[in-house]
């Protein structure tokens, strides 16, 4: 090794360059479809249908596709609806999941473990098993075309069972001493939960919030089946109708870009949390 240090160094350097080149190509493959879609959404119809797609730059850039997009369907409403729902539904999910998990972790009562097992077991059930009966329940309860239906089918189904499981795992790691002290001081169980447990559960809340946010933002089948009013639709469902109604692909790419850009911004802002939640989820699931 000591004989040819220069050679070693040179080899390492070429190795490094090769590595970075390879990674750059890989990353480009991952990002390019998004960039290309975004750029294409500013191309005129003429250019999109005649020019080579390898020429990514719109010449000249135009906003006509976005004008058309908002003309065909109320996309500004879709964005607002998606944002509201993907904040509000996860909040409800977390409230119910953490509350339930607390009882299942710290309160002694008969049947507790069985109950926990029942919740966790539902994670194994594929969503399409419950799809048809839930659709019927919603129609029977006169909740068709309401947000209440979307709340109920998210808060009380398998994805929230995962949250219950996850919170329970987390609560088990919080020392009991804090709680016992508060109870001796006369704090109620609800008070303990709200003032001691929740403030100490920020990492668990962040993880479940991000996972739930992502699943609600991307949800497609249930909102498509339940919501049929354009004023109430979410972005993913709106895209489906856009595809049915609009023949011009430049407009469709504008719609797709509009639904991709916000989540990418949220992701870039909170990327550390996104990746941590992904890790936690995987290992909470074991």
């Amino acid at each position: 090794m000591k004989i040819r240090p220069m050679g070693m160094q040179a080899r390492r350097r070429t190795g490094n360059i090769a590595y970075h080149l390879f990674m750059a190509v890989l990353c480009l493959t991952m990002i390019y479809p998004f960039v290309w879609s975004l750029f294409s959404s500013f191309k005129g119809r003429e250019q999109l249908y005649t020019d080579s797609p390898l020429n990514i730059l719109p010449e000249p850039p135009t906003l006509e596709n976005y004008d058309r997009l908002f003309e065909v369907l109320p996309f500004e409403r879709f964005v607002i609806n998606s944002v509201i729902l993907s904040v509000a539904i996860p909040l409800c999910m977390i409230a119910v999941a953490s509350f339930t998990a607390y009882a299942l972790t710290r309160l002694q009562f008969k049947g507790r473990n069985l109950l926990f097992l029942a919740f966790v077991a539902t994670m194994m059930i594929p969503s399409h098993v419950t799809l048809i009966p839930n659709y019927k329940t919603i129609v029977d309860l006169n909740l068709y075309n309401t947000y209440t239906a979307l709340f109920l089918t998210n808060v009380f189904t398998a994805s929230n069972a995962f949250n219950i499981f996850f919170f329970r795992q987390f609560f088990l790691s919080i020392p009991k001493d804090l709680e016992s002290a508060a109870i001796i001081d006369g704090c109620s169980r609800l008070g303990v939960f709200l003032r001691i447990i929740l403030p100490n559960s920020k990492p668990a809340i962040a993880t479940t919030a991000i996972l739930s946010f992502r699943s609600v933002w991307n949800a497609f089948l249930m909102p498509m089946l339940i919501i049929n009013d354009y004023d109430k639709m979410t972005l993913t469902v709106g895209l489906k109708y856009l595809k049915e109604w609009e023949p011009n692909w430049a407009v469709l790419l504008a719609g797709a870009s509009l639904s991709i850009v916000p989540i990418v911004i949220v992701f870039l802002a909170f990327q550390k949390y996104f990746m941590n939640s992904n890790m936690n989820a995987g290992f909470g699931g074991t």
């Binding site: 539902t122 194994m124 059930i125």
Partner: protein, 317 residues
Amino acid sequence: MQCACGKGGKNMPKQEARQHRKGRMTLKRREAATGWLFVSPALIGFSIFTFGAILRSFYFSLTDYSLLTEPEFLGLDNYIRAFTNDEYFYKYFGNTFYFVVTLVPIVLMCSLLLAILINRKAGRITKAYRVALFLPSITSTVAVSMVWLWIFNPDLGLLNNFLTAIGFQTPPMWLSDPQWSKPALVIMRVWQMCGYYMIMFLTGLQTIPETLYEAAEVDGASPVQKFFRITVPMLANTTFVVAILLVIEAFNMFESIFIMTSGGPLGSTSTIMYYIYEQGFTNYNMGYASALAWIFFALIMVVTLIQYRFRNEQGGE
């Protein structure tokens, strides 16, 4: 409570002890009542939308049911029909298996490879790589499918223009060719799924102590040996979790098919999941769709159990 028990020794007068025990009982009962009160919202909700729904789904699977009329009891007819009298059933099962058998190993290997590449500490830029590789997995499959639909366009799409530019004279027709429609979907899904599992593998990799590699290096192990003798066995648990999640995700492929092919061309990309949707919400054969859902559920359970079994035989915890 524990302190109270400690205090209640022999010296305590009988009556006081009894009273003490009574107090403990009510305290216990109160705790149980609080417990049930706390879980009741979730319990009621789950009873309707999950536990109850599962039971009702099974009941529907035994009936002829179109949502508009009352379910009519058929017994096992729907199940018999699926296995003996439905030409699409086996075909769509075959398609589903195709996606599972291709996606699971490809995504598993690609995401492990990406994780190893990303785990190299090569300056701050690796963080940027990580973000870029993870990006496709956070966006909605519906939106991404719209983009890829245009990428796969035979004449105007990005992919074929690129392939012609680098010398392929007759690139495939992708989604309009029954031969190429499945590979096209696999390409798109691999692209989208890898980053997600990469992060899981990365977490696993970071738990492997550096000293193991150093020791192996001292013993003169080659990089290949280090990979197979250290990395692979140390990642066994992670790989198991990834494999379980991947199999379930591959079985449940739906949105990309819905947007990109609607099961076509010639039913070449229709999966069981898509077939359930079609039978239930296009043809309104809700009973038959429920039976399909249960067959499918049983299948996923069996595959998952086999995976667990395999894992146990390999000696995992």
